[in-house]
């Protein structure tokens, strides 16, 4: 494979291993020079990986060390080549250089990875949470994050919402107890006796 050879020439010390899975080549690299590697793949006229198909991360919790892998799926529209680069990110210091200056599409991909895995992208212009609320605690796609949260660990915003719903419950028309006055209303106005007399008469 052409791209692999070129990378092995230029970044020999950075490459950890080269492999193949389901007919697709992947290269595992160290994270330090990931920006230079991807910049080279994007700019080099013979490779021209101009389409960043996907950027995501995998959490190898208790399976592999380093724990995280940031995965770049690259495609060259002109040369019809596909390549996967995987950068290793340790658990203690989950940081990697942002590539959003090379591909603008990486901006949101990286925000999502930060949101879901807590991997910080250095040099990202606007690293905020994307899918989860901004005051959410924890990173949902990590393997040690449970599928169901315990009630006391619920998001504060959801607690507030439930509290508000409970407060407003008396105003629900279908839950009105006959004979009880509506909150904020004088009892005489909804007097059930009056209605009772009406039906009797």
């Amino acid at each position: 494979m052409d791209a692999v050879e070129r990378l092995q020439e230029k970044f020999a010390s950075e490459i950890v291993s080269v492999g193949e899975s389901a007919g697709q080549t992947y290269i595992i690299v160290k994270r330090e020079k990931i920006f230079n590697i991807l910049k080279f793949l994007h700019d080099s006229g013979e490779l021209l990986f101009d389409h960043l198909a996907d950027l995501t991360a995998v959490d190898w919790y208790q399976k592999k060390t380093p724990r995280f892998e940031v995965v770049y799926n690259l495609y060259s529209i002109r040369y019809k080549q596909f390549l996967r680069i995987k950068a290793q990110v340790p658990e203690e210091d989950p940081r990697i250089t942002s590539v959003s200056s090379i591909w603008k599409v990486a901006n949101w991909f990286e925000r999502e990875v930060y949101d879901m895995f807590g991997i910080v992208f250095e040099g990202h212009p606007d690293l905020r949470r994307l899918l989860m609320p901004e005051d959410w605690e924890g990173f949902p796609l990590r393997k040690d994050y449970p599928l169901f949260l315990e009630p006391e660990k619920e998001w504060s915003g959801f607690k507030e919402l439930k509290e508000k719903a409970r407060r407003l419950a008396p105003y629900d028309w279908y839950q009105r107890v006959p004979g009880e006055p509506l909150p904020g209303q004088v009892k005489e106005e909804v007097s059930q006796e009056g209605e009772g007399h009406g039906t009797n008469a």
Partner: protein
């Protein structure tokens, strides 16, 4: 566009600059096609900054898939792009099959192509209906829904469901087509090419339509690639990138169809691309129906397709047999159904490149499922498409990139 922003910058530097006007568009705005919230910073009627906020429909499909078996996770993919759910299912099944090394029978492949293209027409019809409605053409909406209804009825005949079909299975499809479906599809492919001019006569020479779409939301091909646009949104900018041709899957390499490309890069050319694509999809269905007749009575699901409920863990093969892919004798040993490995498989969904990145650790459920949704990328490109434009044009721009929030938030 850049010129307008320059003028605004000059005004900002001058002393008469007022505070920018902030507008929250959505999350409950009919023209945002779901629960998308756009945070707009305006100067008069010009958009200075656009900041899309998503996540209102986030259901954690990726996390849920990790806790289900491969077959069970397929049902979740219906709920991504619910307008063209069949295409999502096919994409997911193809990814898992590639990981397993499973060969799908030819008849099932043809049926899958038909279902995919039906989903494409249904999706584009709904897109045209709502896009035209947003811009102000009400009649097109009714015409499009008439034909979409026909397609949904065929879907109902095929598998019993209209919207979330769950029709393909890992290793094939659930049911074979019966003669009634084939006759109905022949009738549809005969009739549908005459329906497309009906929509076109309504809007193609309409002065309002042309004024609202031509020269709006212009993007060059190079920038569109850099922004990650795919599908019709990219081909509207003159980049001939169609996964059905670039990396053919199923039987697309045997079929005769054209990749629709337009070169202006504005809202109008994206509309033209989709209209052409509907015609091509119709052609594809027609060819597939002819091919279907050649392999009458063949199976529609592979023999070694996994059971619907794969046991959590490994399966025991009781009798000695050749392993279908790896060629060695397995005799009562535990074999993982899905071997360890990873795959990125993308299909040309109606909205763009829909990719599945699946990592397997050899157990019955996936270790990681990542869905590369075209709508997610297209929403991330909205600021680049809309900044410097009029606030009314953002409606046309949102419509032209064709987004579905179920797919975006996952």
């Amino acid at each position: 566009m850049a010129q307008t922003l320059e003028i605004i910058q000059k005004q900002k530097d001058s002393e008469q600059w007022d505070e920018p006007y902030l507008v929250n568009m959505g999350p409950q705005h009919p023209a945002t096609h779901g629960v998308l919230r756009l945070f707009l910073e305006l100067d008069g009627e010009t958009i200075v900054r656009c900041d899309p906020r998503i996540g209102y429909l986030h259901r954690g499909v990726e996390k849920l898939s990790e806790h289900r078996t491969y077959s069970q996770a397929m049902v979740l993919t219906d709920r991504l792009d619910y307008i063209a759910s069949a295409a999502n299912n096919v994409g997911y099944c193809l990814a898992v099959e590639k990981l397993m090394g499973l060969e799908v029978p030819r008849r099932a492949q043809i049926i899958r192509v038909i279902v995919c293209e039906m989903a494409r027409i249904a999706s584009h019809l709904l897109w045209l209906a709502t896009h035209a409605l947003d811009i102000g053409a009400m009649t097109v909406f009714l015409y499009c829904f008439r034909d979409r209804e026909w397609l949904l009825d065929i879907f109902e005949e095929i598998c019993g469901a209209r919207l979330t079909v769950s029709y393909p299975r890992i290793g094939g499809v659930r049911l074979d087509f019966n003669q009634k479906i084939i006759d109905e599809l022949y009738r549809f492919t005969e009739e549908f090419p005459h329906r497309i001019p009906e929509y076109e006569t309504l809007i193609d020479v309409n002065r309002i339509w042309l004024k609202r779409t031509k020269g709006v939301g212009v993007i060059s091909g190079e920038e569109a690639v850099n922004l990650g646009l795919t599908g019709p949104s990219l081909r509207g900018s003159g980049v001939r990138y169609d996964l059905r041709r670039a990396r053919p899957y199923l039987i697309y390499d045997e079929l005769d169809f054209e990749v629709a490309v337009e070169f202006e890069g504005d809202v109008y050319s994206r509309y033209r691309v989709r209209m052409k694509e509907m015609r091509e999809a119709n052609k594809i269905i027609r060819q597939c129906l002819d091919k279907l007749a050649e392999c009458e009575g063949e199976p529609v699901i592979a023999e070694d397709a996994p059971d619907l409920v794969i046991p959590y863990g490994k399966i025991k093969r009781p009798e000695p047999a050749l392993h279908p892919k790896r060629g060695y004798l397995v005799k009562g040993v535990e074999v993982p159904i899905v071997p360890e490995g990873e795959v990125y498989f993308a299909i040309e969904a109606p909205k763009g490149e829909l990719g599945y990145y699946i990592v397997s650790d050899g157990t019955g459920h996936p270790w990681r499922v990542r869905i590369r949704a075209p709508s997610f990328v297209h929403i991330s490109a909205l600021p680049a498409l809309s900044e410097g434009q009029m606030v009314a044009d953002i409606i046309a721009v949102i419509g032209s990139v064709d987004i579905v929030l179920g797919e975006c938030d996952r």
